[in-house]
Symmetry: C2
Subunit: 441 residues, 2 copies
């Protein structure tokens, strides 16, 4: 006899013991812990859709380079403040190859994952001009991004971008930017959790308005080249990863090794600041820190006092992977297509059981199959949907934790590794439908 | 003919080109850059006394464990939020072995170097109680520590502890703590830059007052077991590294792999929070983050949004080194004694040329020979002394950048590696004396 669904009272007890008062507001790490508890309670595997743990093996190019760096004694030495030379150069070439944008090696700084990149960028942007005290986040978004300004005590504002696609985005951004208080705008493209991708027209609108209102665009490219509707896998050949960098000089790109190279454990990424912004002098920064330029402060003030940089040996790993990708000897995009296949197949299973995509379109085009997507079930609320799915042995996170106003869950396919994971999802969703029949109708 | 001293006008031009208006206020990294420029200008090696780059080779125990972790695929996987199990356990045992304090593995969290530990601790301490908005730093201190609250916008206060040794410290701390605004107190012991070490009596005073006024003591143990006046090298045998943890439950210890294991490049350390403080519930944290305990918030709120933890493979390295040290198979303290020998010899050279120790005593006992010491020359000011030494090919940092009110420089002996470094120091100090004769008298 199936151990699912878990009785409602037992599930409530579990949450109470874990100090979680509302599961729809729980962090990804808390949801992960709930899953572990459910596995211990039932002695059955849970379907893990909650966390973006890379489900593809690391390429030996990265680990070999890292091990070689350790053999050469790099563990002893603080890396140069702006990162090792080869990483800066190879990152610059990689960006040219896949994003078709020119950024000097000088303007590329390694960070402790892109999480640390956005943390330091947001803090710096909040200090460049006393009148600009607010960071604008386009939602839905990565919940940890949303929490950063709260932890840092920085004023912030969000809106659900799905309501403002295309030309509507111009009107909405114009309204927000014209307050004069927005220092920076942050988003992930492709989007986490909805996998929506901005069109060139939308990126142009964002870029033009960023220039007009002197707002810095912080573009998180954690999932670059993973919109598989186009083949973005050929270095130095179009089509390229779309970017706001084509339309403004007011930008910083965050490129992480975690997802594109499955190197999440080593906490290594780069922040690439536009040449113009890097060298821009901010009197308020000079007054406060005795250093004026945006880029020097990012490196020597913010990244330095936060962690004195990032792993020396992992910088060699990331450098080698950037180089191999730009050389065309490591086709990282093809390896990532596996996520698209998993998304396609699991979406079919959700749809078979009556679920619908919550965020479904890029204006007139259906969203692609990638790392994430979002589903809802009839009009069931975030908290009820996630609670009932968890009771049926399916773990995820609720959409409200991503700044979305819609009802549903985020599905991450990275841990759908084997045939049995899809069979199990299908079975558990059958149990879920019955549970809805029993408890909701 | 010697290329030193560099003419005053040429040196001023160099600083102007590097955007440094006052060399005595320059950061360590800036001083390092000045040294590189001087080497390029003169084509002669500079005597590097400015930066604490480990000058001892890394033990293969660390690198082997890290390479093995990479071979086992750990680069792909996010480490557990609180760090890998073995690191937590081995750190707990290491602390028992060398500090003689019991801290549960649960309460030990890895950070991106201790810089990141203090960054997140200071931020958290500033948010636990709206009435306690100030961090107190005992100076002289590590300049980056002093810059952290400025970057984070946190009120902070310092005083030179050398003026308040012994019972005077009680009076001074009582005065500061009784304002009710001090959330936390941070210091390094042994002290950077002065190498003064608190006596047991002083640690007792700090601990008692921390309990009385509910102040959290953030004790940076970057140089633990490096006060070579006592043999602290035997695990589980007295004498142990002195600590405030013997006298209060209100503490967090920061133990870094950078100096004691020469593992600075990999940015790996641990923060060990007292069992009682870890579990203490703070209503203000619960209101703000939905999580109440100090330790859970440190791990899941602060360290998470700052960088999502630290290098997975480096955690295995640190774990293995902690284990070997506690097992007694890796005598890390004996290897570090090399720094003491270098300090002793270079101090003699400074004294031969008329320099004096600035911070010279722990109450009635002379300070030991270790990683740092401080010297002054007659009554020459910070800026003049450092400028003239640099012009003579000796690089260092000025004492005012460490929060000290005294005139002098910090000497770090880590880069005094070979016989020729000592010969060069002797020669250059001879040139310096002549320069003083020519320009000052």
């Amino acid at each position: 006899m199936s151990k699912f669904p878990i009785p409602s009272s037992k599930f409530s007890d579990l949450l109470r013991n874990m100090d979680i008062s509302d599961i729809s507001l729980a962090t990804i790490r808390q949801c992960q812990s709930v899953g572990q508890e459910l596995e211990a309670m039932t002695n059955e595997p849970i379907v893990h859709l909650e966390m973006g743990i890379p489900g593809i093996n690391v390429h030996h190019i990265g680990t070999n380079a890292q091990k070689e760096a350790l053999d050469k004694g790099k563990a002893k030495l603080y890396p140069a403040a702006g990162g090792i030379k080869s990483l800066k150069e190879n990152a610059s070439r990689f960006i040219k190859a896949f994003v078709d944008v020119d950024i000097d090696p000088l303007c590329i700084i390694p960070t402790v994952g892109s999480m640390n990149g956005s943390f330091n960028l947001v803090l710096e942007c909040s200090q460049i001009n006393p009148e600009k005290d607010t960071i604008l986040y386009l939602c839905p978004g990565f919940s940890a991004h949303g929490r950063q300004p709260d932890v840092l005590g920085i004023r912030n504002y969000t809106f659900d971008v799905y309501m403002y696609r295309g030309e509507k985005l111009r009107e909405k951004l114009e309204k927000e930017f014209s307050s004069g208080r927005i220092a920076a705008l942050l988003y992930s493209n492709p989007n986490n959790p909805a996998w929506i991708c901005f069109t060139e027209e939308e990126l142009k609108i964002i870029g033009e308005l960023a220039t007009k209102y002197d707002v810095i665009v912080l573009e998180d490219m954690a999932y670059m080249c993973m919109d598989f509707r186009n083949d973005l896998s050929k270095p130095f050949e179009p089509p390229f990863q779309p970017t706001v960098a084509k339309y403004t000089d007011n930008y910083a790109l965050m490129i992480s090794g975690s997802k594109i190279f499955s190197y999440a454990g080593e906490r290594i990424a780069i922040t690439a600041i536009s040449n113009k912004l890097y060298h821009r002098e901010y009197p308020e920064l000079r007054r406060r820190y005795g250093l004026g330029s945006f880029g020097d402060n990012f490196m020597l003030t913010y990244c330095y006092v936060c962690s004195a940089g990032c792993s020396h040996s992992a910088q060699y790993a990331l450098s080698a992977m950037f180089k191999a990708a730009a050389d065309g000897t490591y086709d990282f995009v093809s390896e990532l297509r596996e996520y698209g296949r998993r998304a396609h197949r699991s979406k079919e299973i959700f749809e078979k059981h009556g679920f619908h995509l919550v965020y479904d379109k890029d204006i007139d085009q259906s969203i692609g199959d990638g790392f994430f997507y979002t589903v809802g079930y009839e009009d069931i609320s975030n908290v009820d949907l996630l609670s009932m799915l968890m009771r049926c042995g399916i773990n995820a996170i609720a959409l409200n934790s991503t700044g979305s106003g819609k009802q549903g869950i985020r599905v991450c396919v990275s841990q759908m590794l084997a045939e049995e994971d899809f069979v199990r999802l299908d079975e558990r969703l059958g149990i879920f439908r019955k549970l809805v029949e029993d408890e909701v109708r």
